[in-house]
């Protein structure tokens, strides 16, 4: 790797590299460089969006956990809280739609259950090019099948979503997945490491070379050409293992052995360990040789960067390791102590006895540069504003026009999609896809269809179930964004997306309480793109303030373009609303002949 500049190998810029040298007081070695490369990547560090996102309202009476954790948490009442988050898997889905979408669902499920929540609902937001193109049909049907594959197997109902087809997504599809979980408000788990001497454990699947030479790391010299040819970087999801991991983690949370826990998704071990250390203001020491491997001969940096799915990093109270092991063993899963918490604030990586990397946790997790990219209004907008609407002819045949509209895939029924998803498991779904927002009823923090009884001794009679006191509560949720509106007016278009999600929730009788969002944009280093992003965030902030729905988290996906052509700006809004009384649930559809029809609003 000597020929090229070191920073280029890991996708850093020259001044970013200089900054690393300055922080360390020396040149980073190969492993350390890789670590900075991924942790300071756009995906992990939000370096182009961080400053702008600060404008979003994130506080509110109900907010128990705002942005910065694996998922946001909102309080419903003293016994019930809701964790939720959205995440994109656009690029992986464009390469391999089935696995890309499936692993996207797996990742968002893990983000939610690491918080200590049982996932009870999924939603998804999809964008493709026009369906007359066979490649688009392949992407669309593959992504839908992949979402179903993961969610159905794990047993979490999909209660809503949206699908749009538009030219701008032909070269870059969007696959965003949202998950909602429920938990007790006093039992939130965080991605934090604390208590020097406490062990760190990897639980779940073995670590392989999946996804390592994706993105910024393509240029590594470690592989011979032949091996590159035969090797695929596609991450394959294993929903079966995802389900086992989910059940094992929820069982683990019933003990009080856990100090902190984090999903090992993108940038795997390095991001989870450094973020956990940074949040806890501690250091960590991990030995990569102790990580259960799937392949032989893996290098330290490969262990650190692997994106193998279905794994978690857990910080456990010292001495409780056997308990943890027993739970994972019961579910047929591996667990291994790979290191411990230290008090020196460093992320220290060992390869057996040899120290292969030693850098401050905060440097990796929090000290990536923050950029304030240049902004410029895109030229197309002036052209659009000059458009003369009155020049558009009125349709000659309104009936034909209506039929044509109904026949458009953007307006037509989405049954083909949601029939492939389990919409009913957990016995919570009281409004399934096909209406406006999806609604699930909630009986207890242990699950919609549960009494909080997970396992009891066989043969012991339980008291007869009693109806829960007070009215039956529910959660409504919807995902919305019309990218065309945002393209036409980024600020208002985004505000409209928030308002649309809110209306969809309100018509069920629920009160919107918070949102999560997935900002899908092009290359932020282009002033026009950054301007639209900046405007969109302003619109989102205004709408959220007006509606009293703070933002508890989200995801930014930049660089959604192909050959310089960006997608329509698509800041997808995932809204959660609380239904206080399901006796007053309002469902779509006219009910009876003779009922009065009223049009509300202007």
């Amino acid at each position: 790797m000597s020929e090229q500049q070191p920073w280029l190998l890991v996708g850093l810029k020259e001044d970013e590299y200089r900054r690393v040298v300055q922080i360390l007081g020396r040149e980073p070695n190969h492993v350390e460089l890789q670590m900075f490369g991924v942790m300071w990547s756009e995906h992990c560090s939000y370096k182009h969006s961080r400053a702008t996102l600060k404008r979003l309202p994130t506080k509110g009476e109900r907010v128990l956990q705002g942005p910065g954790e694996n998922a946001g948490v909102i309080k419903v009442d003293d016994d019930l809280a809701v964790a939720f988050k959205i995440e994109s898997h656009n690029h992986p889905s464009f390469v391999e739609p089935f696995q890309g979408a499936a692993t996207g669902v797996g990742g968002i499920l893990r983000d939610v259950f690491t918080m200590g929540a049982r996932p009870v609902a999924l939603l998804n937001s999809l964008r493709f090019g026009p369906l007359d193109d066979p490649r688009q049909r392949h992407l669309f049907s593959g992504a839908v099948a992949g979402i179903g594959h993961y969610g159905n197997c794990v047993g979490v109902p999909t209660i809503g979503g949206e699908v749009y087809f538009d030219e701008s997504y032909r070269g870059n599809c969007l696959v965003n997945a949202m998950c909602i979980g429920i938990l007790h408000p006093d039992k939130i788990h965080k991605g934090i490491a604390a208590g020097p001497g406490n062990p760190l454990m990897v639980v779940g699947a073995r670590t392989g070379r999946d996804g390592i030479h994706g993105a910024s790391l393509l240029a590594s010299a470690e592989f011979s050409e032949g091996s590159e040819e035969m090797r695929s970087t596609v991450q394959v999801g294993d929903p079966f293992m995802g389900k086992l991991l989910l059940e094992a983690c929820l069982e683990l949370f019933e003990t009080d052995a856990v100090v902190g826990i984090q999903d090992m998704g993108a940038a795997g071990l390095i991001s989870s360990s450094s973020e956990m250390a940074a949040r806890g203001n501690v250091g960590v020491e991990i030995d990569v040789r102790k990580v259960p491997a799937r392949e032989e001969g893996m290098e330290p940096w490969e262990f650190l960067l692997s994106e193998s799915q279905e794994r978690m990093l857990v910080c456990v109270k010292k001495g409780r390791e056997p308990e943890v092991e027993a739970i994972f063993k019961k579910w047929g899963l591996l667990s291994a102590v790979i290191g411990q918490v230290t008090d020196d604030g460093m992320v220290r990586v060992l390869d057996g006895d040899r120290v292969v990397a030693e850098v401050p946790a905060h440097a990796l997790a929090d000290e990536a540069p923050v950029y304030h990219p240049a902004k410029a209004e895109p030229a197309y907008l002036a052209g659009l504003r000059a458009f003369d609407w009155s020049a558009l002819p009125e349709p000659e045949d309104w009936n034909a026009t209506l039929l044509k509209l109904l026949n458009s895939p953007n307006i037509g029924s989405k049954e083909w999609v949601y029939q492939q998803y389990d919409q009913m498991v957990l016995l919570g779904t009281v409004i399934a896809p096909g209406g406006d927002a999806g609604v699930i009823r909630i009986r207890s923090a242990a699950g919609p269809g549960s009494h909080g009884v997970t396992r009891q001794k066989p043969g012991v009679d339980l008291p007869r179930p009693t109806a829960p006191e007070g009215p039956q509560k529910g959660i409504a949720a919807k995902i919305d964004c019309n990218g065309r509106y945002v393209y036409l007016n980024p600020r208002r278009g985004t505000a409209i997306a928030v308002a649309e999600a809110a209306r969809n929730c309100v018509v069920t009788g629920a009160r919107p309480v918070a949102i999560t969002n997935n900002c899908n944009f092009g290359n932020p280093e282009k002033p026009e793109i950054f301007w639209t992003f900046d405007e969109a965030i302003t619109g989102m902030a205004e709408a959220c303030e007006a509606l009293g729905t703070p933002v508890t988290g989200g995801n930014v996906s930049f660089y959604n373009e192909t050959s310089g052509e960006p997608i329509h700006p698509t800041p997808t809004i995932g809204m959660v609303a609380v239904h206080e009384n399901l006796d007053r649930l309002t469902t779509p559809g006219f009910k009876q002949a003779g009922d009065v029809i009223v049009l509300l609003g202007e």
Binding site: F240, W331, Q419, Q420
Partner: protein
């Protein structure tokens, strides 16, 4: 009355099934772990739906080797009531406790939707509370529910009145379009010759409360309870 609800790695309808028994029909239930061998507490066993072992290899193919399946075979041999729902049906066919096999849906896609079932045999422990020909509204949720059996087996099933339910229209007509999966003769559920082991692809536990869209699933569970109570009172 006490039901055992099986849990294999990958089962995901056990909470729902447990809930339906406890809340919708007010009977006792326990979870039965796949490693358990003792079924002495139970009057009936429900093999709950889901994706045991991820549906890998063939649906139900790996689960059928679990220790609890030996116990269930014994339980069934002694006349105990066993109902396999969805993945439970698939496990029972793999285990040879029910004839035939469940293939991938003819349209190759997973299908979650409400369907109508016509009760073909109302003289069993599972359907005793139904009228012959009654149409039930119960959802399906599967990728491999396409029932297959060789012609001899199929003939036998028909001759012995072993077909419990067929997919039908809302009016009870058995048409190809009414089937969500391309199943042979629209078969949705069958029973063994002895009349104590049944399997069905639709999910009765999902249809036990009007707020969820239907309460027709209760017919099955209460039929089982009535049968067992009747039998108990004869002893």
């Amino acid at each position: 009355m006490r039901f055992g609800v099986t849990v294999f790695p990958g089962t995901n309808c056990e909470m729902d099934t447990f809930y339906a028994i406890r809340e919708a029909i007010g009977e006792q239930a326990d979870y039965v772990w796949h490693q358990d061998r003792d079924l002495s507490h139970y009057d009936a066993i429900l093999i709950a739906g889901g994706f045991s072992y991820g549906d890998y290899l063939r649906t139900g193919a790996i689960a059928r080797f679990a220790p609890v399946m030996d116990a269930i075979a014994e339980f069934a041999a002694k006349g105990g009531l066993v109902l396999g729902i969805c993945n439970g049906f698939q496990i029972l066919t793999e285990a040879g406790l029910l004839p035939g096999a469940l293939q991938r849906n003819a349209h190759l896609k997973f299908r979650c939707s409400w369907v109508h079932l016509r009760v073909e045999n109302a003289d069993t422990p599972f359907t005793g509370g139904c009228r012959p020909g009654q149409v039930l509204r119960i959802p399906v949720n599967h990728g491999e529910g396409n029932y297959f059996a060789d012609p001899d087996t199929l003939r036998e099933l028909n001759e012995n009145n072993q077909i419990l339910f067929r997919y039908c229209t809302a009016d009870g007509e058995v048409t190809p379009e009414a089937s969500p999966n391309g199943s042979l003769e629209n078969i949705a559920g069958i029973i063994n010759k002895a009349g104590n082991v049944a399997g069905m692809m639709p999910h009765p536990e999902r249809a036990c409360e009007p707020i969820l869209g239907s309460a027709d699933g209760r017919y099955l569970l209460t039929s089982m309870v009535n049968f067992l109570t009747g039998r108990a009172s004869h002893v």
